[in-house]
């Protein structure tokens, strides 16, 4: 891909012709961001271009000082003759694929994406291109998601059962995206919903962006004497190891993540329940997205890279690995939450 329109440098994916980077991990002049997750949104760049639908989230992540311009889904921006547009990736609110076109050559940097319907963000839009850069977070055939409805009925009945026993239900979910998807989809008639500080702020941003969110209360605002039994508490996974949990008294813990597909991963987390709810494509979705792109070459970044590349090559698709510094599903907790503890 060295000679292509988009190349991999030690700062990130770079378009020389348009002189911009996509999701750079080291400071650059102009950064085009796919979405606001921590491994795609680094501070310290001079200029940012983000999808308008995710502006509020990017602002929270980048701070008040950052120079952010926005562009709506489908609108075309021009950078030295290079056409740049954002298209929904279905990952989290405002998440985008970045389409880059110059002299008829089309590249799509898909960022993180999923195909499954999600009420909290616009659905994934398949785009035909010559070069498709895909993630591979869950790029093994063992990862096949159940319909969302089924997962939510599991979460609801877990919450109800805990409530009957007078227990609080603490669900761990990444603070950006997953938390809001959980709250949007859960049966809000069951009981009160409380949030961890990291979650509350982003939930407000979702609300302000017009996404349907239930009424929530920030745990930090209700005092330690409060009785949480029967309530649902939404917190980032990093809160699990902290003394923060003590205030909830008798409680059951759950974790909403694609990793919960595997029992060993759930046991590593030492949670009572794992709910298989992912904002990334599962194996069939990955293959379908790649197929729909009709790309000549597929570049595979973060996740099960070698496995997806080998599968594609054995099935008549030209695919190569691409060693980016994107992390995938654990990035949020590793990077962001270190500073967000209460």
């Amino acid at each position: 891909m060295k000679s292509g329109l988009v190349t991999l440098t030690d700062r990130g994916l770079y378009c020389r012709q348009g002189d911009f980077y996509i999701d750079p991990w080291k400071p650059v002049k102009r950064a085009v961001l796919t979405h606001a997750h921590a491994d795609h949104t680094y501070r310290g760049n001079e200029d940012y271009l983000v999808p308008a639908e995710g502006e509020r989230l990017s602002r929270i992540r980048l701070g008040d000082e950052a120079k952010i311009s926005t562009q709506k889904y489908g609108e075309i921006g021009l950078f030295n003759g290079v056409k740049v547009s954002f298209h929904p990736a279905g990952h989290v609110l405002g998440s985008s694929q970045v389409r880059v076109e110059f002299k008829g050559e089309i590249w799509v940097v898909s960022g993180d994406y999923k195909l499954m319907p999600d009420e909290t963000c616009a659905p994934f839009e398949p785009i035909k291109c010559h070069h498709f850069i895909t993630e591979a977070t869950f790029g093994l055939p063992i990862y096949r998601w159940q319909p969302t409805k089924f997962v939510f009925s599991e979460i609801n009945s877990w919450w109800r059962r805990n409530q009957e026993k007078g227990k609080a239900s603490v669900i761990f979910a990444y603070s950006l995206g997953k938390s809001q998807r959980v709250m949007n989809g859960i049966d809000r008639s069951i009981g009160r919903i409380f949030t961890h500080g990291a979650v509350e702020r982003l939930t407000d941003a979702y609300r302000e962006s017009g996404v349907d969110m239930p009424e929530t209360q920030y745990v930090g605002s209700v005092g330690n004497k409060r009785d949480f039994s029967g309530s649902l508490i939404v917190a980032p996974p990093s809160a699990q190891a902290s003394t923060w949990l003590r205030r909830f008294g008798s409680h059951s813990t759950g974790f909403a993540s694609g990793w919960m597909m595997v029992r060993g991963a759930r046991r590593q987390r030492a949670v009572d329940r794992g709910f298989v709810l992912s904002d990334h494509a599962d194996w069939p979705e990955l293959l379908r997205a790649i197929q729909m792109s009709e790309a000549e070459t597929v570049y595979v970044t973060h996740g099960f890279i070698e496995e997806v590349v080998r599968w594609l090559n054995e099935n008549g698709q030209n695919a190569v690995p691409l060693k980016t510094q994107f992390i995938g599903d654990d990035a949020e907790e590793e990077i962001v939450n270190t500073g967000e503890h209460e």
Partner: protein
Amino acid sequence: MKLFTELYVELDQTNKTNEKIEAMRFYFDQADARDAAWAFYFLSGRKPRQIIPSKKLREWAIELAGIPEWLYLESRDTVGDSAETIALLLPNNTTVDETPLHILVEQRLLPLRTSAEEIQRTEVFAAWSQMNYSQRLVYNKLISGSFRIGVSQQLVVRALSQISELPADIITHRAMGDWEPTSEFFSHLIDPAMDSDETPIARPFPFHLAHQMDFAPADLGQTSEWQAEWKWDGIRAQVIKRKEEVFVWSRGEDLITERFPEIAAAAAQLPNGSVLDGEILPWKDGRVLPFTELQKRIGRKNLSAKILAEVPVILQCYDLMEFEGRDIRTFDFKTRREFLEKLVNNLRPEARQVLNVTESVAGASWNDLGIAREKSRVLGVEGFMLKRLESPYRTGRHRGDWWKWKIDPLTIDAVLIYAQKGTGKRANLFTDYTFAVWKGIDLVPFAKAYSGLTDAEIRKVDRYVRDNTIETFGPVRSVTPKLVFEIAFEALQRSTRHKSGVAVRFPRILRWRDDKTIEQADSLDTIYEMLDAFQNPVNVSK
């Protein structure tokens, strides 16, 4: 198997003891006795031998999933469990198999072992097509002989004890040894009428298990209230002589009589109605041999005259539970020990060569005993067992009467050079490590260790391995030597099978020495010095 699968899922989903007991109570309340018998059988850790080799199951799953073998293997390495991998890979199915557990096991599982492959295949495919994900998981585990669930037998017994209102010790005893999982068995297991017990002659008593001492010995009070014995590192065994028959049981409740003909022959000399507790040890010229010698015998079905001569065994006896046909577990230890000595002293000399009452080490103070304990490594023992003279023979693990007073392990600073993904809870994390020490300017592998790090440390090492892989050999990765760990182990032995020339017993990670560079790791010379220090043959027999 619907109810049983639900139980499995419930037990698998919680770490909380009370919830596990509740789930089992619910199950045993609902289940038919024929199903409950099998459930108890599986939950208490028993399992039928493998019915279909995992390799066959894998082939069939690959065929149904339509994936190449390499992708199956990658998936399995990520999942860390073959039965689960297969359940995840099979095409989705939401129907539920309603076959009762005992029918499934007795009619659809067990007979398959001897069926032709074509029939096995048809039956397994049919089962998979009827079952949902969780049922397939349980089925795969049963059929491949890998069924395990996170409850101890003790916990299962507690649940049954709550249902039946019988003391747990009674149920534990009734469940010892060999039995068939029939409805009669299960009904008897929880039968509140206690006099109805006619003990089968082979049935062992539950073992009394010791705790590791986690405080200073002086906290135990006067030494005069205690007996100190050497803590042997062999196979814990219970030897029964009843009605002219001898049974030797391992702690895992395997009948091992035929594996140790010397012990069976000596035990045949005991009077009927004798049950002894002790440790089987490889023993030659008045000295215990390394445990690895015993391992040479354990695996074998046929014991040649050669191996019997090379690795003879004895039983270091240390307790007596039945004397003259009477259960004496409630008698105090001092009395039981006197009976034991009397019993063994009455044997003919050749039997006394094999059944030896273990030495009681005298010490006027804890300090004296502490000094005596220093000899442990030279004697080839792990330290002392301290037993309260007034104590009864208890059921299971019990705090307070038996203590392991082990010597500190040997330690070495070694360098991480290879890593492999773990299984089960450690699936998809690099948790299985090979450590090396210096031999001149080379690092030579010296020990493998799996445990000892915290979850946070495991994640860090995992990330290090992923970022610093040099080469990949199948599941194993070689990594840039950089991380140093302190490795603890119990014993050392010369070995021609190991590159380093030594084999270690129970290696584990004591801590991560991130304060050390690889140049500061130990060398083989240090290990050879340790070896020399502890290999002086010293007689321990009287």
